[in-house]
């Protein structure tokens, strides 16, 4: 724990121990698991329902019992005399009330994995944060997280993190750094030279306040915000349209029709956890599911979920916006939109426009294209549809992205002129992700002092004069305001592992702040700002504790403003779009466009050294440890390119050579290349993984553009293996992912239409007190893969590296199978989470020669590692292929130089789960450790286990709540109810395996376009 505010932290802690204490007694507990518990008090059951098998039941003690008891007593007394050998552990002289060995504490904090700033609840065991979960109390994000968020806990234990500040690459002390920085700042002050803080989007209000203080104390101070994946155009367009340079807050749950133009809002765009949650809730087939249409060039997670997905090259996306606006304007009777050209089948556009118009005020058109003309046209479109104030909130905007491309470009120019004296850089890496890194580095060389707050030597910080490593967010205090009036706090879960210092503290120190204590500053800031904005609590101490404990605070927004009127010049924007698109189309057949995008695992590349993320299969391509050039099947055929052929993409002087990946649904004239790869200096796991595509971004009319036209493709003749975890994408007509239609669903809506279970020759398996089961809603699952990383973190799943993945040896206990159906050019995709199905008639069990896998009395299929001799017979006989074999020792093995090789990286391991040795089989246990813990907690609280007490790691992480775990014996549990849903089916049911995991059919709601 940090020294800062130790006393306060204890109150911010939600410990399991508290729960134990509080659930005792008849009074309604302050924490409750269900409304029943709140109103009726906890239910009680005996410690061993049904009695202990050996205990005498009411009868006299027999001689045998006496002897047994006596034998036990003597043996126990003897054992008590044995002592485990004392190792070099230093005991706490004074025990802490908070830390009980083996009992986890949970603290609320805020994710800094990206600027979305999701609220988290972090599990701390014996003083170490080991697992990240979403904070269910957050009104924005719910309990879900994304894959990146799940993986950030591993970044804390990253070997590549700096142990101490560096001056000119040499370790130094903070005093030394402070001296030099202060001297430089004084010099800048005296020479009236510019001091610049270059940072990523600042979501923290207290940091903004510190920056304001800098502005006050240094007249020549400038703050530039720079995001490698920029939202500048969206902000600029809102300034042009409404006079407000903001990113609006979207409500995907309120829209009946959602149209996305290259906006991967379920995977990477703006705030995917929040949007996935809204989206899934809004697509519930039992209610009225929203219609989703996606126009995009490459296949994204979002596109793979759409009811209608239309492949459009990036240069033509503007025309789609114009075409939609033209139709809506016509319907709304607004001034006609120039031109008549449609970039694609007019019927599709007509149908989309009809739907939008039908649900005007309940529709939403979003675009991730960083082009202000397109954004202005979309603003006009949304305004014409009356969506502002309904599905788009511009009065309470999102503050998650505030980078400014123009300001960055100006800064680079200024740096190159030598006009920047002192440059402070936080959370940025332009030497890697700027479109012209050479210019930036040239400018960097001309600064008198460049200070980076990076936690490692990366491409940028290694060129700076000083590196002042910032804490990892799990070591730091802080706050965030992701959406206007929604606040969230960060609190440290562990004392800083290294000699790092909070960036805020450095900033405070360098402007000579009296105390330079960020914790105090933060508290003071909250006292004077956020505390003042709420009325519920009158005492700041209480407010602070409450806020720390719950992690999130929502204050009433400033007086509700009226919905601003659209006043942008959409006609000029339309003209510009049409002019440019016209130019492109003229030579469309000869050349290709290169489209840069973010992938779910790697995002903008800042987490490249996180092996969990590198090994996370891309939700669409299922490729790990690399990026690639996605190319349409028909184009690949035309060019004679095969999977894995290295192709050279050339645009003027810019060249990129990388392997081709044949992607069904890819736009035929577009090559998609993921950003975030090809880091040169990030750490052992991430160096030289993939190829850097940032060079193919450019500045166009003040916005950074993420596609390049006139790309020439050449084959190099080389091939490169792609580490893909799934190589076959067709279901081969097998009933694996079952689908149904809305019409059929309505037809069979009456109860009694549940599918019958098949007869079995085997006796029904008798269950004990519980029968654990799971239901997975295929309609809610977006394929975002957060569950995969959550499972990896929870269950100590090792990372095996690209070579092993090429050999089909990934260890993930849960995988998301993705299948295509239909045309190769325009496929329909499905995502299916697949893990051990916990069969009641498990094929793996009968074949194991040594009984290493058995079914528990509660229906869990268990793997007994100590008994397993590794014949792999079980895996061969598993029809779901979910068993994972330890082909090597993946722990402490230099051949697998990932987190489990380093002592630091092993700190993330969950002590409740055994680390498997080589030669044993493993698989999903349905988080049996969580089941066991919840049972113990209930037992100690003398109450019965309630539905929802146990959440598996995958279920907890799922932002769209597609996974539900529970007791099938309890007819009122959520999972039981889902098992009786008419959409329910079991995969490979006809084999008679009787899985305890059920799936709910995917509901197809295809849009009529003809």
């Amino acid at each position: 724990m940090s020294d800062l505010g130790k006393g306060d932290q204890s109150r911010g802690c939600k410990s399991a121990k508290d729960q134990l204490v509080q659930i005792n007694g008849a009074a309604a507990p302050s924490y409750w698991k269900s409304p029943e518990e709140l109103h009726n008090g906890a239910r009680r059951t005996a410690e061993f329902p049904g009695g202990l098998p050996s205990s005498p039941t009411g009868e006299e003690t027999t001689r045998r019992d006496f002897l047994a008891a006596m034998g036990f007593t003597v043996a126990a007394a003897g054992l008590a005399g044995c002592r485990a050998p004392v190792q070099n552990a230093i005991p706490l002289l004074v025990g802490s009330d908070e830390i009980i060995p083996g009992v986890a504490n949970w603290y609320a904090t805020t994710c800094r994995g990206c600027a979305s700033s999701c609220s988290l609840l972090v599990k701390q065991r014996d003083g170490r944060p080991i697992k990240i979960e979403g904070n269910a109390e957050s009104a924005l994000f719910g309990g879900g997280t994304c894959a990146t968020g799940q993986a950030t806990v591993l970044s804390l234990y990253d070997d590549a993190r700096l142990r101490a500040p560096l001056w000119q690459g040499q370790p130094t002390t903070w005093q030394e750094i402070d001296k030099r920085v202060l001297a430089s700042l004084r010099e800048a002050q005296e020479t009236k030279s510019e001091i610049v803080l270059l940072s990523g989007s600042v979501v923290s209000p207290s940091v903004q306040s510190i920056i304001a203080e800098w502005r006050n104390s240094h007249p020549h101070f400038r703050h530039v915000e720079y995001d490698p994946v920029s939202f500048t155009a969206l902000r600029a367009a809102n300034e042009l349209s409404f006079g407000r340079p903001v990113v609006p807050h979207y409500a995907f749950d309120k829209a009946r029709v959602i149209v996305g133009l290259e906006a991967d809002f379920l995977g990477t765009w703006l705030s995917p956890v929040e949007f996935a949650r809204q989206y899934a809730a809004n697509r519930n087939p039992e209610k009225a599911p929203a219609l989703h249409i996606q126009f995009e060039s490459g296949m994204s997670v979002t596109g793979s979920n759409a009811d209608l997905r239309v492949a459009v090259p990036p240069s033509q996306l503007g025309l789609v916006a114009v075409a939609l606006l033209r139709r809506i304007a016509h319907k709304a009777g607004i001034a006609p939109v120039a031109g008549t050209q449609d970039p694609l089948d007019a019927r599709k556009l007509d149908a989309v426009a009809d739907e939008l118009w039908k649900y005007r005020g309940e529709s939403l058109v979003v675009s991730g294209v960083n082009d202000r003309s397109i954004q202005v046209v979309l603003n006009a479109l949304n305004a014409a549809l009356g969506n502002f104030g309904k599905t788009i909130d511009i009065n309470k905007p999102s503050l998650q992205r505030s980078g400014n491309d123009n300001a960055m470009a100006e800064l680079v120019a200024k740096m190159q002129r030598g006009d920047v004296h002192t440059l402070l850089m936080h959370g940025v890496n332009p030497a890697y992700d700027y479109s012209e890194p050479d210019k930036f580095l040239d400018g960097l060389g001309k600064t008198a002092l460049a200070v980076s707050f990076s936690d490692r030597r990366d491409e940028t910080s290694s060129r700076a004069h000083a590196i002042c490593p910032d804490h990892h967010f799990l070591e730091a205090w802080g706050d965030a305001e992701p959406v206007d009036s929604h606040f969230s706090l960060l609190q440290p879960l562990i004392a800083p592992l290294f000699e790092t210092r909070a960036m805020q503290e450095s900033l405070l120190r360098w402007i000579g702040h009296p105390e330079a204590d960020y914790y105090k500053y933060l508290r003071e800031f909250w006292r004077t700002n956020i505390f003042q904005r709420q009325k519920e609590i009158h005492d700041f101490e209480t407010f602070w504790e409450r806020s720390l404990q719950s992690g999130v605070v929502t204050v009433p927004p400033p007086a509700a403003a009226s919905i601003p009127k659209f006043q942008g010049d959409w006609k000029a924007a339309v003209d510009r779009i049409q002019k440019e698109a016209g130019e492109t189309r003229a030579d469309a057949d000869k050349s290709f466009e290169l489209h840069c995008y973010e992938t779910v695992p790697m995002r903008d590349g800042r987490h490249a050294n996180n092996p969990w993320l590198q090994e996370l299969p891309d939700p669409i391509t299922k490729v790990t440890w690399s990026n690639y050039a996605s190319i349409a099947p028909q184009t690949a055929k035309k060019l004679g390119v095969n999977q894995g052929d290295v192709i050279r993409l050339t645009a003027g002087t810019r060249k990129l050579e990388l392997p081709a990946f044949i992607q069904p649904g890819q736009e035929s004239h577009t090559i998609s290349v993921a950003l975030g790869y090809g880091r040169q200096q990030v750490g052992r796991a991430g160096n030289n993984v993939g190829w850097n595509a940032y060079a193919f971004t450019s500045m166009e009319q003040g916005d950074r553009r993420y596609f390049t036209k006139n790309i020439v493709i050449e084959k190099t003749g080389r091939t490169e293996k792609l580490g893909s975890t799934q190589t076959h994408f067709s279901m081969e007509g097998r009933p694996i992912v079952l689908e149904t239609s809305m019409a059929e669903l309505r037809r069979n809506a009456e109860p009694g239409n549940e599918p019958a279970t098949q007869p079995s020759l085997w006796a029904e398996r008798l269950h004990g007190e519980h029968a654990w089961g799971m239901a997975i809603d295929m309609n809610a699952c977006t394929g975002c893969s957060a569950c995969v990383v959550a499972c990896q973190a929870e269950n100590n799943v090792p990372v095996v590296g690209k070579d092993q993945i090429e050999r089909i040896r990934i260890m993930h206990w849960i995988r998301i199978d993705r299948y295509y159906s239909g045309e190769e050019e325009d496929p329909v995709s499905v995502h299916q989470p697949m893990m051990c199905q916990h069969c009641q008639n498990a094929p793996c069990e009968t074949v194991c020669p040594v009984l290493a896998t058995t079914t528990s009395s509660e229906g869990l299929n268990q793997q007994v590692y100590n008994r397993c001799i590794g014949t792999r017979y079980c895996a061969n006989n598993c029809p779901y292929k979910v068993r994972r074999f330890n082909w090597y020792n993946y722990t402490e093995n230099p051949k697998f130089d990932f987190n489990m090789e380093s002592p630091l990286g092993r700190m993330v391991l969950n002590p409740d789960v055994a680390v498997r040795s080589r030669g044993v089989m493993e698989k999903c246990s349905l988080c049996v450790q969580r089941v066991q813990l919840a049972k113990n907690v209930a037992l100690q609280g003398k109450r019965e286990l309630a539905d929802g007490d146990i959440q598996t790691a995958c279920q907890q992480a799922c932002p769209s709540q597609a996974i539900v775990f529970g007791d099938l014996k309890d007819p009122n549990s959520r999972v039981s109810k889902m098992q009786h849903n008419q959409r329910r089916y079991q995969v490979l049911d006809e084999l008679g395996t009787r899985p305890n995991i059920s799936y709910l059919k995917k509901v197809r709601n295809p849009m009529e376009t003809a």
Partner: protein, 486 residues
């Protein structure tokens, strides 16, 4: 059976009692009618003389392969079975293919020594000893694979039911075919070893009597268990032989049936089929005879034993090979037919994939070796051409190895969920250990032909056409003579 004698010289045997024994043609399975002394000399020569160049070259190669096996298995134990090409989709490949292959090889030995003994086939006398030796070495090779294929071979003893154990009430899973395998293979090895050893005792006694060196004499004396050649000894000996043959006979059918259940009891398309037990037994005998042919063709020429292992022997073995090969071919057809007729989606896909998928070349190689090749043996000319038979026997070996590979790998690599599909590519260690198992086999076999009589001297003496044939256990004349005397 006992009264039906095999016509060797074309004359019909007369089973009527009371007819003079000398009217019956003496069985003759040895060319040139060597004297009894010649036989003993011929067979004992390799044991007493220095080995020739050919033996040393063969032994050198085999021993190098064995050393390679030792090295690779050591490395395997040190690093883990990740050094093989196995993966999450294909959990068994070369390891279990080799296992089934070697178990199958062993079957010919048992068939020859037990079933042909019961059927009174005299031609077995020249080949039974080496075939039995082959069985033992093949079962040793086979037994090695389940042990080394385990992820944690140091815990291999978990697979044996043992009591008391210190791991609580842990027992093996009697439902698992792998446990059945343990029983089947260990029974098989035990019976084969005992049978082989017992059959050698009279010869060991002969060698004891011939031995000159002190150590040699001591060793053979020990091994021959005080054999004295008395009538009482012979009579008991023959009873024991028959009893053991009776015990070994069901093993010919049961061992490979049980091995086949490793696959048949699973639910994998391509494995889950009831035809497997007879199909595997036929395949085992087919491959076993292939291997016997290979071994004997080499041995008879390198050891100058053409006189004892005649073309007629080869012809007989070729016929058995052809018959079992056709049974195997029929089984292939049946599999395809049931896949089509059964209408099971997965089953059907599996067989389409077998014939057209990425491993189709293995399938066609298997068809070439196991379906086409045996058909060539219809011609007597082919059956008596040593060179041709040698090629055929090698083809049979290759074909049967690939049959197991096709069954195991092709079934696994594309099972139920297409998301779990993947390819298996062997590594140097897969191939090295396969080669190494041949090294183990041939090293053992080459040592055998140097150290022990590779033809049953006492048995073959009964089929050379001398009066001594009356001693032979397997000759029908024994009983007839008894009848005459009575």
């Amino acid at each position: 059976m006992s009264t039906t004698s095999i016509s060797v010289n074309g004359k019909a045997p007369d089973a009527a009692r009371g007819i003079e024994t000398q009217m019956l043609p003496p069985p003759s399975w040895v060319d040139d009618k060597p004297s009894l002394r010649d036989i003993t000399d011929d067979i004992a020569r390799p044991l007493e003389a220095r080995p020739g160049k050919g033996w040393w070259i063969c032994f050198g190669i085999a021993f190098a392969a064995l050393l390679n096996l030792g090295g690779m298995v050591t490395y395997l134990f040190a690093k883990g079975i990740g050094i093989w090409g196995l993966n999450n989709s294909v959990g068994w490949a070369f390891d279990i293919t080799n296992f089934v292959f070697w178990v199958g090889i062993g079957h010919a030995g048992t068939l020859i020594s037990a079933i042909l003994l019961l059927f009174r086939q005299q031609w077995r006398t020249s080949i039974n000893r080496s075939a039995e030796a082959m069985t033992i070495f093949a079962v040793m090779c086979a037994g090695m694979f389940p042990a080394i294929h385990m992820g944690r071979p140091w815990d291999a003893f978990f697979i044996f039911p043992y009591f008391p154990n210190q791991r609580g009430p842990l027992w093996v899973n009697f439902r698992s075919p792998l446990v059945w395998d343990v029983f089947a293979i260990s029974t098989y090895l035990t019976i084969s070893l005992v049978f082989w050893y017992l059959g050698m005792i009279p010869d060991l006694a002969t060698l004891r009597d011939r031995a000159t060196g002190k150590i040699k004499k001591f060793a053979f004396r020990l091994l021959s268990l005080g054999w004295n050649g008395s009538h009482r000894t012979w009579s008991r000996y023959e009873i024991v032989s028959l009893v053991l043959a009776g015990l070994a006979t069901p093993l010919v059918l049961s061992v490979h049936s049980i091995v086949s259940m490793d696959f048949a009891t699973s639910l994998l398309p391509g494995w889950h089929t009831t035809i497997f037990p007879p199909y595997f037994v036929a395949g085992a005998i087919y491959s076993g005879f292939g291997m016997v042919l290979t071994l004997l063709i080499i041995t008879r020429s390198t050891m100058n034993l053409q006189r004892y292992i005649t073309l007629r022997h080869l012809d007989k073995m070729a016929k058995v090979t052809m018959l079992t090969g056709m049974i195997v071919s029929y089984a292939y057809l049946t599999e395809f037919f049931s896949a089509w007729y059964g209408g099971n989606l997965y089953e059907r896909y599996h067989f389409i994939n077998r014939a057209t998928g990425p491993y189709a070349w293995c399938f066609y190689l298997m068809v070439l070796c196991n379906v086409v090749t045996p058909q060539l043996l219809w011609s007597r000319k082919a059956r008596t051409s040593v060179r041709f038979l040698f090629i055929v026997s090698i083809m049979v070996n290759i074909g049967m190895w690939f049959e197991r590979f096709v069954i195991i790998v092709v079934s696994l690599h594309r099972a139920f969920l297409p998301s779990g599909w993947g390819m298996f590519y062997p590594t140097i260690f897969d191939i090295g250990i396969l080669v190494g198992s041949f090294g183990l086999f041939f090293t053992c076999f080459l040592l055998f032909i140097r150290l022990l009589p590779m033809i049953a001297m006492w048995e073959i003496k009964g089929v050379v056409g001398h009066g001594a044939h009356k001693m032979a256990l397997s000759s029908d004349e024994d009983q007839e003579e008894v009848a005459v005397n009575a």
